[in-house]
Symmetry: D2
Subunit: 344 residues, 4 copies
Amino acid sequence: MIKAGIVGATGYAGTELVRLITSHPKAEVSAISSVSFEGKKISDVYPSYIYLNDMVCENVNEVVDKSDVVFAALPHGLSQELASDCKAKGVKFIDLGADFRLNSENEYSEWYGGTFIDKNLHKEAVYGLPELFRNEIKGKSIIANPGCYTTCSPLALAPAVKNGLVKLKGIICNCASGVTGAGRKPNQGNHYPELNEGFHAYKAAQHRHTPEIEQTLSKLAKEKVTVTFVPHLLPVNRGILATCYADIKEGVSFEEIRKAYEDFYKDEYFVRLLPDGMYADIHNIKYSNFCDISLHYDKRAGKLIVCSAIDNMVKGAAGQAIQNMNIIFGLDEKTGLQILPPAF
Amino acid sequence: MIKAGIVGATGYAGTELVRLITSHPKAEVSAISSVSFEGKKISDVYPSYIYLNDMVCENVNEVVDKSDVVFAALPHGLSQELASDCKAKGVKFIDLGADFRLNSENEYSEWYGGTFIDKNLHKEAVYGLPELFRNEIKGKSIIANPGCYTTCSPLALAPAVKNGLVKLKGIICNCASGVTGAGRKPNQGNHYPELNEGFHAYKAAQHRHTPEIEQTLSKLAKEKVTVTFVPHLLPVNRGILATCYADIKEGVSFEEIRKAYEDFYKDEYFVRLLPDGMYADIHNIKYSNFCDISLHYDKRAGKLIVCSAIDNMVKGAAGQAIQNMNIIFGLDEKTGLQILPPAF
Amino acid sequence: MIKAGIVGATGYAGTELVRLITSHPKAEVSAISSVSFEGKKISDVYPSYIYLNDMVCENVNEVVDKSDVVFAALPHGLSQELASDCKAKGVKFIDLGADFRLNSENEYSEWYGGTFIDKNLHKEAVYGLPELFRNEIKGKSIIANPGCYTTCSPLALAPAVKNGLVKLKGIICNCASGVTGAGRKPNQGNHYPELNEGFHAYKAAQHRHTPEIEQTLSKLAKEKVTVTFVPHLLPVNRGILATCYADIKEGVSFEEIRKAYEDFYKDEYFVRLLPDGMYADIHNIKYSNFCDISLHYDKRAGKLIVCSAIDNMVKGAAGQAIQNMNIIFGLDEKTGLQILPPAF
Amino acid sequence: MIKAGIVGATGYAGTELVRLITSHPKAEVSAISSVSFEGKKISDVYPSYIYLNDMVCENVNEVVDKSDVVFAALPHGLSQELASDCKAKGVKFIDLGADFRLNSENEYSEWYGGTFIDKNLHKEAVYGLPELFRNEIKGKSIIANPGCYTTCSPLALAPAVKNGLVKLKGIICNCASGVTGAGRKPNQGNHYPELNEGFHAYKAAQHRHTPEIEQTLSKLAKEKVTVTFVPHLLPVNRGILATCYADIKEGVSFEEIRKAYEDFYKDEYFVRLLPDGMYADIHNIKYSNFCDISLHYDKRAGKLIVCSAIDNMVKGAAGQAIQNMNIIFGLDEKTGLQILPPAF
């Protein structure tokens, strides 16, 4: 059994890791930590775990010492030091935060306000979006697990962008996320009566996931891509829907595009390219690691519209982190993640 | 008191008319009709009205005979004959359906599949979006009350389009509507367990409101505008949020755009242009006739992003119909519609 | 116009008062105060009011000075001094808090932990549940406005208890409240992802509303009544449903009970006794001052089951406070409260 | 692998069986049937299963022929014949419907309107509530799987009733169920806009689960028990909360009761007796087979209050059916059901 430690286990992404690793046949939770709840049981924080997982939150060092792999679900800025410790002790490190996601220190500074403490460490880190960069992930020890929006949007656009079927200028990612994306800490905006029966955009064209989406698409396009990214807050617990718009290049047919998507994703278990006429719906992937993608065509305006749906806590966080763990430990990528998404 | 009759009173838009006219100081519900519930009390259909409004659904003719103005909330295709009857009897006619909204019979045929029975009648009809076409509405007898998406999206874009501040090519209206927009009839898609905790697009670039949005914007632009319109279904009862994207013309600053919006809407009671930094939210306008608009700027991509929020059943249907009634009867446009939107 | 001041205007009950008084034809909001938001506009706190009510929160003294009546929506313990000030200045005082609700200082101390600062003041205060104690309210200057559960449950049971149709032992009030009942302050329990898709009891047989329910029922029964009161938290914004159980006395028929309810409530505009077969539903009274009551009969067990539904923020707080204001100012009790509850 | 066939696979309980058996390490779905969708793929009905389970609905006979055990999720009245067929072919039969739940044909006729076609068959059937009747289930071939309310309420009361700690007269089961309990077929009452933000009782003291609850409690008490059962409809997808009330016998302390519950459930994996101060919440058991129970005491009224929470589709239907399958096939009862309930 792989010994998996979780740092930041009482946040939403951390606790989802606990849930998923508990069902994993080849891994087990070796230790957990939490700054806010050190010395407390995780089931004190999440009573849904009571009697089933009553592990006590330890400190970070204990987690590292007891683990083959450490998952970190920390506020940005705190992962770099931990990655360094893990490296020194030969422990694999999978970071659910943003510290290792951007290749450019300038962009990191601009959007997050920090610096790269150890540039070599950053060079070792690889961006863990397996459907796009699987080969780079294999054998690595430091994985930057993508964010939720930054998984959903690039998967929606990758085949079109990589194959040069759409224009790279003017791409729009209009996204909507369930509330768990905002984390466990209560505030006025996600207080039940003020969020329920509401819907609004936030951080329009200012969200930190923007450079990360652009980095992924630029890498596929081999050219700098700028996207307009506008997230919205949905009154549901889980799920992200990305509705992406791109101008189809002249001479390219919608059938060609569909064919490109089929080829691109034909061996990807976790990407379900839906048949024509169906729409990706967060309802259909919740609690699972699947990404549903549907293609739509605005013939009158010459636009490709792609909808993609993921569970922000699974494929957008903990599930994908486990998928990465499976890869770097040489397991079948699907291990522990083959749940049938519930019908309701 | 204006005698207001409602045809199709047991549908959601019809019953919202009942609610709002009951609070109107200068109008009263004179009679109601319903094909499905003829002979039944409206409070049998909507128990929230019990003892307060127990009017019995009559047939259409009785409604016309008892009214100064008839509101019709009917499936498309059924309003033309009724409008003709009303005209013959000197009764004002406000149509909440689509029959009189499109000026082009070709477009009507293409998107709705019918024809213009009496072309003269269509010439008399005027499109009832007061903030944009108030002068044309005054004194008219047949009003085509706009649809929900087709109120929200054009109000979001009107100042920019009319003043030539954005490019007319490539405009995107990404919208999300509460479930009441789909009407009262239950089906699998809006069955509670299948809609709850879900979110998906539908009729992407194929929704019938597309030509109506384009007609309004084209009229303002004095040039044919094509938009990409993608609606989504939200797990809330009421509200539409339109998130609209347009490319800002070269040389135009965001400040200029904001100024244009301020000028355009400065005398419009029902449009609330929000200060910088705020976001239009359906939570803040529900149960009211207000349209909240917020402006956002993607400097990197040169795009204007406009969010506008309305209650689909009020400003998107019944409230706007009453606003139109107020105009054609020479009342203060705000009469009966000055509710403070509830804070939760 | 009655000048109505609101102390604690930025809490949920306070802001609902702002909304309802704005629509009141004979009263206007004269001034508002808030400890947390002094100097800020109420529309900064609740953007649904923007441009419609941008009043600035002042301090308590200013509110008292500018008002004919002061509504206080304060944490318990803070109203007594304010009531004293109002009395000194000849200002009517309607308290939405608990300070004046209990007649017994012992009970107040036991459940709330404080004392009666000025016993004479408490003697002047009257319990403002108009359907039960209207005559006592008329002409009074200090009104203890009942709580939400304590409006809903006694109205459900009053006719049966007053007429001696049920046993006074073993009465159960099983209630469920929407989240606004827990107030505006965010905490873990009403953080959206942890409340949504949840349902649980809380403070079973320990809630502070227990002695208040008992006081009302005891007064009607002219005998000490003890009730088992168990509240639950519902994932909705507004509404309380009380499902009350009482043993029917031997020899009493269900028809007799129904007749007693009909007689008791026949002149009560705000109580809607539903016909047999219908069930009180919070859906049907939201945003209104109505209390819907339905009667059910467990013949096999000899139990009366009564369901009653109110909007906790209206009939359970602000609406009832206005009803009390109408009474003490000699207005028609319904003034400003005759809204048709929305059908959805 | 146990070959498990599902008759009525496209209803909510049936499709939940599909989901759970897919994750079962010792069983597999051998065949499915559906009257409404014969010839169609289950993933056409539930797109969450697309590409993962695209089994085609066959007819009932094919299911029986291909299976070691048949689960039937059928409208009442249709299971008796199917049970007979299964018996003839040596196939185990687990009925999620009501046909075999009541021992008394009179009660069955009174509440369901049918008769026992083959009385011998009924004698062979055993009531499959493992925590209460495990020994009777072992080795049996026809299992009457309890309903949702009839699992939740008896588990809440069993230790108190069996040990004679509460009075058997006057017991109340006040329950609230998520919408999936009403099935897949859309109707006006569970149309999203009419259920959302609503809460109401239904079939008060008239629900068909009443005699089933009474049968179980009577069996434990060895005396006829009559309960008052009032179900409510909750605006959530999954979950039932039973809040049960019983008068504590004189001389019995609350500590004694708690001890009895601890003893009764100490070896029951699926029953989680919560520590003092915690409340059973449907939020904490959703998607799992657990039943959370919390004990509360109304000292003033001498009442025991027990809250119990289950997922109506799992422990209240499909999960418990699998638990029964595990028992009759000699597997560890927990097999395939050891999921950690998600924290949100």
